[in-house]
Symmetry: C2
Subunit: 341 residues, 2 copies
């Protein structure tokens, strides 16, 4: 059987309290005693039982990461950032994968009640009024990532500014018919990106044309942030009279589908249709896609850092960090060719 703290105490000829104190290097202990205990620990290859410790302390040293089905480039990068910071603080991460956003509450309930984790990172998922209240009331640490909230801590990205950047860039390339392919508007980022698009049009005195905004509803998986939706939307856009010569697409995955549609129709990018995506996922490099970069790694790091701070200190100032985006110019927007001239 695994050695317990009692075995260590006996071996070192001290009390269990002393062993515990050495383990948590709390209060002053004679260097000599400490060495003895440390010796015994090493000899027995003792390591504290995580559950027992958790129960006694009411702290688990784990945090939950709740995110939508994480099979996306987007989340990989975010997870990398989270990972790095979490390791630094010697925390463990428990991953909860939500395939249906409506079921988010289920996980929020579990994490709150079961007390398996010390805090929660809720990624790209909305929190219901009910659970917002519960978390606040319980003072249970939670940080929203890729999401904003008036009453909760959050780390997000300036979606509007990003969309604005993308659209403005296309207009600056000389396009006057600039369309947008968006995801389902029930998604908050989709809404905000649309706002940015509209604002850019307005600021540049380009009229907003209703039919130039295409949202495919053939495939609403992941709120329309998927390849097929982008493909379908582009097909639809190509059928438009006086179709746009440039399009801002609300995500890179959709853009990948759109590019495919263009290719199939024998159209060239950027000559026949200039494109700017959003997210700067790894794929964008391969496709030569001009896109909006979000500092995902940094966001992950920041979120974890703040969450751990919240776990340690009961009263912390609320954090609502909003990272800004930047444009990454590749081949799909036509700006590079211009540079070469």
């Amino acid at each position: 059987m695994k050695p317990t703290i009692y075995d260590v105490a006996k071996r070192a000829g001290v009390g269990i309290g002393t062993v515990s104190r050495v383990l948590n290097n709390s209060s002053q202990i004679t260097p000599e005693t400490k060495t003895r205990v440390l010796h015994a620990i090493r000899e027995l290859k003792y390591q504290p039982h995580a559950m027992a410790r958790g129960l006694a302390r009411n702290k688990t040293h784990m945090m939950a990461i709740i995110l939508p089905s994480f099979t996306g480039y987007f989340y990989l990068e975010l997870l990398r950032g989270i990972q790095q910071e979490i390791t630094k603080y010697q925390y463990d991460m428990v991953l909860y994968n939500v395939d249906n956003p409506d079921r988010t509450d289920l996980f929020l309930q579990r994490t709150l009640r079961e007390r398996r984790v010390d805090g929660v990172l809720l990624v790209s998922l909305p929190i219901s009024e009910k659970y917002k209240e519960r978390y606040l009331r319980a003072g249970f640490p939670i940080v929203l990532v890729d999401n904003m909230h008036d009453e909760l801590d959050s780390v997000s990205v300036e979606n509007e500014q990003g969309a604005y950047l993308a659209t403005t860039h296309l207009i600056k390339q000389g396009h006057s018919r600039v369309g947008m392919i968006d995801a389902q508007l029930k998604s908050i980022p989709a809404q905000i990106r649309l706002n940015g698009y509209k604002k850019a049009l307005k600021d540049n005195h380009v009229p907003f044309v209703e039919s130039y905004l295409v949202i495919s509803d053939t495939n609403t998986d992941k709120d329309g942030f998927n390849r097929q939706a982008g493909y379908d939307a582009m097909k639809q856009m190509l059928g438009l009279p006086d179709r746009p010569t440039a399009v801002f697409i609300s995500s890179d995955v959709q853009a990948a589908g759109a590019l495919r549609a263009l290719q199939e129709s024998g159209l060239k990018t950027p000559q026949d249709m200039a494109i700017v995506g959003f997210d700067d996922i790894e794929l964008a490099q391969y496709l030569g896609l001009t896109t909006i970069h979000q500092p995902l790694f940094e966001m992950g790091r920041t979120a974890v850092e703040h969450l751990i701070h919240m776990i340690g200190n009961h009263e912390t100032e609320r954090l609502n960090r909003c990272f800004s985006t930047h444009l990454v110019i590749r081949d799909s927007c036509g700006a590079k060719q211009l540079l070469n001239n």
Copy 2:
């Protein structure tokens, strides 16, 4: 404060033992009593404390997934399979990300001693002799994924057969100078894939040419399974006298780099150089890369299923499941064009 089992017991007018039994629906309990307890539970919104339960049962209902820096398409798909199965069994997954394979032991030690998890899935990482012994001795459930072992349970893929398939396919397309771009040979899969390649050459009476095997050592990140290594290797291959007209590349990420190199050199795929990759990561679709598909999702599922079985039953028969691969024909090998004729 959160309600405990005592609160529930008091409210329902029963003993804590009874509540516990209802919770674990063990032994017989009068339906009437059961209803009363269930009522009390609902009224108090009671949920058992995971740590306390874990301590008492010596079971955590969590499993560790130890994998190399998981920022790869490869692991996403695997994780999806793991995820699905784990959810089915109501387990939680704790992710441990190992950036340096040499540090694997550190995590193996923690999981074994801290008893934070009931079992371990060790993905794509070698296990040292020392820890193999320890795990066996402790009877601690562990399943290797994407790895084989004589004495431990494992779920892997037929790398040799896959490489054989790929190489044979290229030869069948009429190529007589078929090269291979491999990763670092210290990686076991890289070795085995090389074997498959050689075997295919031999079986088809194509001589093995030493210089046609290119392994870039400019970038050995992830044992050479990276984009840059593929790019460099292809550049090198293009400089060869009587260079190959077809190449089997040991991973899709490397193939992506190789394609880039070809493109830069103004060469066309598959006309000037036919290519078959390995892994069938999502990117392969976008690139039109012919490749070897591994049933990653299924592997993840199987591994979890077996691990849970091991956790439940002390003595289980050893599982050494080896999934077979299949060829996915896309544009990069030239077979499609043939079909069209």
